[in-house]
Structure formats: C-alpha cells, structure tokens
Amino acid sequence: MGMTIAEKIIARAAGKETVKAGDIHTVTLDLLMSNDGTSHLTVDKYNALKNPRIADVNKLVWIVDHNLPCDSVKTAASHKKMRDFAIEKGIRFYEGEGVCHQVMLEKHVLPGQLIFGADSHTCAYGALGAFGTGVGNTDYLYAMVTGTSWVLVPETIRINLTGNLPKGVYARDLILTIIGKISANGANYKAMEFGGEGLKNIDMAGRISICNLCVEAGAKTALMAVDDVARAFLKDNNRDGDIVESDVFDADSDATYAQVIDIDLSTVKPIVAKPHFVDNVCDAKDVAGIKIDEAFLGSCNNGRIEDLRVGAAIIKGKKVAPNVRFLVVPASRTVYEQALSEGLLATFMEAGAIVMNPNCSVCWGACQGVIGEGETLISTGTRNFKGRAGHRESFVYLASAATVTASAIKGEIATEDMV
C-alpha cells in the first residue's frame, strides 16, 4: 500500500518502514518552535517539573513576534521571562526578525522534517515539504523535555490543481475558496496535500499562503511535494545545501486518500471571507462597496515580498482613501530590507500607508492597529473571528493582498480592477 506525504514523514520520524492513517506512533521531533503567545507559560511549567531538562536544545527556536515592540508592562514581564530563559538555556532566539513562520521558513525548515510549533499556523511549513503542526504549550513542553511526542497518523485530503490562476486572482483566493467549500472543520484531524500540474504555476509565497491557512479548515498539517520552486526558495536563503535528499518525499501513486478534490485554477475568482468565520466566503464583488476603516497588508499569510509587490503595483501613484488607515507590515526583516531596496516601502509611504516593523500586527488583535467598536477592517491576516482585531463589536473581512490594497484606495471593499 502506498503512502501519502504525511504518512512518509511520520514513518521516518517514528523509525518505521510504513505507517497508515489511524495509527498512533511515538515520533522524534526535528524542530520545536515557540513564540511569545505562550512561551512565558511554558517556562512556568518547565520550572515546576520534577526533573526539568531539555532533550536537544539545538532543535528549539523561540521567536518574539506577536506583541512586538512590547505594548504594556505585563507583556514586558512575559517577554522578559521568555527571553531570560532562552538566553540561559542557549535556545536560538529571535526578536525583531519577523513573524515566526516566515523566520522558520527562511532559516530553519527543511523538507521531510516533523515540526511542532506552539502556534496553529505551523502548518505553513508544508510549502517546503515539512510536516508542521500546531500544539499547545503542554505538548510543546513534553516534546522539549523528552524530544518525542505521540501523533495520530492523519487521513489525507488530496487537492489536485490544474491550469493557471487568472490575472487579478491569487493563491489567497484559492485557499479561501477551498475552505469555503469544505468548511471550518472539513479537514479536522486530517492532512491536506496539494499537487497536480497547476501547483507548478504557484510561487513560493502563494504556496506558503495556501498551507498556512489550512488550519482554518481544521487541518492538522498541509503538505506539498518539493519541486524546483521550493528548491529555489531554499537556494535564495542559502540553504539548498542543507536538503537531505532521502527526506524529500512525494506521495505514492497508490496512496489512500479520505477525499480527492480537483480544482481548475482558471475558475477561481477574487474571494472575501466575511465576519466572523473564515469559511463564510463570497465573491469579492458581492461585498464591494462596504465601507472600511482600516486595511492590513501583512501577516504570516501575506506579508511576503511577492505580496508587497502586488500591493505596491496597485497603489503606485494613488492615495489611501481619506480617514482610512492602511497598515503595511513586511513579514520579516529580510522581506523588509528587500522591499526597501526595491522602493516598495517608499511607494506605500507616498500613498499615505503606515509602514510598520515585522510582527503579527493587527492579525493578532492585541498589539498594533487594534480597531474600535463598530469599525471594519479588511485584512490579509489569518482570521476574522469576532473581536479578533480588537473590539468585540467590530468586523474583519479577509482577502488577498490585491483586494486589501484596492480597498485601502477606495475606502470600501474593492478588487484591483476597480481602482
């Protein structure tokens, strides 16, 4: 019986020849990522252990990205606890380098790895052929102490892509279309595996955007086979020499799938997810004209250089609408520097946007750009849950970098062909 990519990675991490969906295995983790959302609580739990220890400190990566720069005295105390612990234990520690998943993809993630991240969007790592999955801080701590954990081998939903996305349509529109189709729990406990000829036409930023959002359908992880596009990304980050060829997996032709979905990319349209659920999607045109107070271009989903290029090309020579705040937040220091050298940040600034340091920003709703009662945000962020961006009586629409930028110009929801 053939295996899916998820099964092959778990088999490798469990030291087995084969595994199948439904099995429970003990695995050795390759990397363990934690950010400032929960690390202070992990430290407290670590210090209360009977026999505190770290199995392999070289596998740990800790990243401050959620409330950065620090927003309050309470946060400062939690950050200090995390920072002091990381320094004391010799954990690789980043602060100001970018959003955790972007930093991980640029610097650490490799094909075939099994990675726990104390953040639900860890599934983004599938764009590089790695099994990333989100865990809470107790699972994280157990893995940190023992180097291992248990996993239930997930069933896999296979998504076969053909064709090309039309002009003005992006990977973000594709993944919102898929989540709308299968619903917020359509992939609960499952892996989502993407393939087909159409995948070759999607760039690395688009692939990360797709994998990153799969948790919004409940997915345990998202996976793509490693091809020339993924290898070029690793080469651009000077890491192509780190690839372990025996860990580069593709699915077997006779692998077993729980469901197979075929999508012709040429049929995808600009999509918006309406409040307060990510699967509450519609054609962007159907909500065009809804007034916005703020627009956000950034996050682990759409803060990459490709997204900033899309936004800058749309807004060049135009202005942000009066009384609208347009937040532009590159996903990492690397992206920021690239955008600076390409003149993209100057374009945004000239248009009246607010360009900010790499961090999770308003996607996380607890730091920068929080919106008030009755306000509306259009965002490339990951979620539009009630109150996600601030006041519990506020509204978040999710869309592509193009739709968000066009909306910032119009002051109301709009697609790029409308500005």
Binding site: T38, S78, R383
Partner: protein, 157 residues
C-alpha cells in the same frame, strides 16, 4: 449537578479567551475574561462543577492553551460538544480538563439546565433524560486519569 452554559458551533479559542489577555503573566489573571465576547457575565456566574455545552467544532482556531486553561481555572468540570477542533481537544486532555463528545446533548438541553456527568459510565443525565457519550481513546484516557500530560511525565521521572 452543575449548570449548563450553552454555546453554538465553531466557537473559536479567541472567543474563549481573547488575544489581548494571553500575555498576562498567569492564567488566574486571564480567567476573568473568559468568554467575554459571547457572554460577558460568564466568568462571574460560572461556578465550580458547571459545564460548557456546545455544537460542532468547539475550540477551533488558535492553539492557545490558555483557552482550556481558563475554563479549568474557573472550575468548569467538563466541556461537552458534538465535536472538537483537534488542538483544543488535545490541549484539554493535556491539562486534565475532560472534553466529552456527545452527539445528542446539545440539541436537547437549554442554557441553565442542571446536568450530571458520569465519566466512568460515559453518561450524562439532565432531568429524566440520559445521554451516552463517546469514550476517549485509550491513550488519552490514560493521560486524563493521571491528571494531565505533565503529571504523567512527572510520574515517569
């Protein structure tokens, strides 16, 4: 007996505890904000031994373990739903908060009803009605019985 606090489907962890409280130093400082967006009175009206009952996909979204932790800190005895999102489910077991799958309860009870959960028998009683729950997988039941994943780790050490 405990009182039922009833919520709908796809309740995400942002609703259980919002982002702006997650970096507070301790769970005890966060817990008064539990379910603030959906029921601002929840944290003051819930009593130890009460229950949270919900429709499908309870706890979706963020992996924040603060979500089951604030429920446990307020004394919620168990969360009973038609289904749970994966990470919330695992987190709850890990911290020793029972999460019970019961397909029939939600549609047959009202907020404020008194219910009793018998974990060993896998049954829930509300008035004269009895509901059967799905039993936990063996490995998870073992973690729960030991008081959570850290308690079980300390026991191994």
């Amino acid at each position: 007996m405990g009182k039922i606090f009833r919520f709908y489907k796809d309740v995400d962890t942002d609703q259980i505890i919002a982002s702006q409280y997650l970096l507070f130093p301790t769970i005890d400082e966060m817990k008064e904000h539990t379910f603030e967006s959906l029921d601002p009175e929840f944290a003051t009206s819930v009593k130890p031994g009460d229950y949270v009952v919900a429709d499908e996909n309870f706890g979706c979204g963020s992996s924040r373990e603060q979500a089951p932790s604030v429920l446990k800190a307020l004394g919620v005895k168990a969360v009973v739903a038609k289904s749970f999102a994966r990470i919330f489910y695992r987190n709850s077991i890990n911290i020793g908060l029972p999460v019970i799958i019961c397909k029939d309860l939600y549609d047959n009870v009202n907020a404020g009803d008194e219910m009793e959960l018998n974990m060993e028998q896998g049954t829930i009683t509300v008035g004269d009605k009895t509901f059967t729950c799905t039993s936990l997988p063996e490995n998870l039941q073992k973690i729960l019985d030991q008081g959570g994943l850290i308690a079980s780790l300390n026991k191994e050490d």
